[in-house]
Symmetry: C2
């Protein structure tokens, strides 16, 4: 503590506040995702509308992160890891904002599904939603703790969500073949599944940013840690 | 020129070089998109595989942009518009990398469609691909010229691509109802359409970044310039 001047301490308080904002964004995005999937399964219009209306809050938090990052870049001269953290924070906020958009997409599907029969493969959909949310929670945990090993483990879990999405596709295809009247409903549910799969991809992006933030190297476009 | 010191000039040369890299990325992404759609329509496996293999080049350009931005932030102290340009460059490179991923998704659909009959609503698909590519080209033009008015005009064109995607959905749904045997093919084409719609969204993101870069204000989450 003795070597820390007030300006420096202030800067690190700003960085901590930024982490808290990212955690709040992630919590809001996870809640939106859970509510959107419930709206689909329970044919709940009120819940769907709440998700759509609530997205503005997540958008607002992204703008807050961007403004803070630009202010800190302009007023401090962050180097090395602090600089990489600021870059990562902006990308992570962008990824979380997109998770919010996927929750809105799912809520919009829920609204279009209000009148349809429940043909959804419920266990697969619930499991996808659960895994995608957990990946997101763990990715933000890795951001806050700056833990690249935890981050790498998250990247590996993306394949499990992809496999569930493939399985949804096959189940829905079978339903459609058997009963062409439910094709519209099945395609809507396919979109829901696709949105959840994209959320898992975004959680993976965030985890990759943690590795970059801590180690200064990008694993994004490498085969590292991922089966072919 | 008299007031420009060598360091300052050097920095502005770096910014110009960054713009050239973004243009190259955009050109590569547009070419990949065009080739991927051709691969779908012509059932051309060679073309599809070339798109998938070529994505590494686009990924590499994104890494190059990120490294340059971080180096310039660390070694220069860019202020105001230059700082905002560097932030925007990183986001734009990320958006273009995602356009490349959508081209890969379309090429992968092309591979899965090799054996199927051609049921695709060709005119709609070609028109979507054309509009998405033009939006991307114009967005990059707005980046290079720093033209917020041109950028705002691009945002308004997103609705036209969305309408084509809706129209694709209805056409494919009708095909599927009439002949359940083509459901698999139709769902694949629906994915292709969805990918093109997302490319138009990404071009819109880039245009929004131009407004932020030049005017220092975000239009991203506002209703501004977009019909409800």
């Amino acid at each position: 503590m003795s070597g820390t001047n007030p300006t420096h301490r202030h800067f690190h308080e700003e960085l901590s506040a930024l982490k808290v904002t990212l955690l709040n964004m992630s919590a809001a995005a996870q809640a939106a995702l859970a509510a959107a999937v419930e709206a689909v399964l329970q044919r709940d219009d009120t819940k769907a509308r709440a998700v759509i209306a609530g997205d503005a809050d997540i958008d607002h938090l992204e703008t807050e992160v961007e403004e803070t990052v630009i202010r800190l870049l302009a007023t401090q001269q962050p180097m090395a890891r602090d600089l990489r953290f600021l870059m990562a924070a902006m990308k992570i906020a962008n990824d979380l904002e997109r998770v919010g958009d996927h929750a809105v997409n799912i809520a919009q599907s829920a609204e279009r599904l209000l009148a349809s029969r429940l043909i959804v493969p419920v266990p697969e959909l619930l499991e996808m939603a659960r895994q995608a949310r957990m990946m997101l929670a763990d990715a933000l945990d890795a951001v806050v703790r700056g833990d690249p090993q935890a981050a790498r483990a998250i990247c590996r879990r993306d394949d499990s969500v992809d496999a569930l999405h493939q399985s949804m596709f096959r189940i829905l295809l079978t339903h459609m073949m058997e009963d062409p009247h439910i094709i519209g409903t099945a395609m809507e549910l396919f979109l829901v599944s696709r949105n959840l799969e994209r959320v898992a991809d975004l959680a993976t992006n965030i985890a990759e940013d943690v590795v970059f933030m801590v180690e200064g190297k990008s694993i994004k476009h490498h085969a590292e840690d991922r089966p072919a």
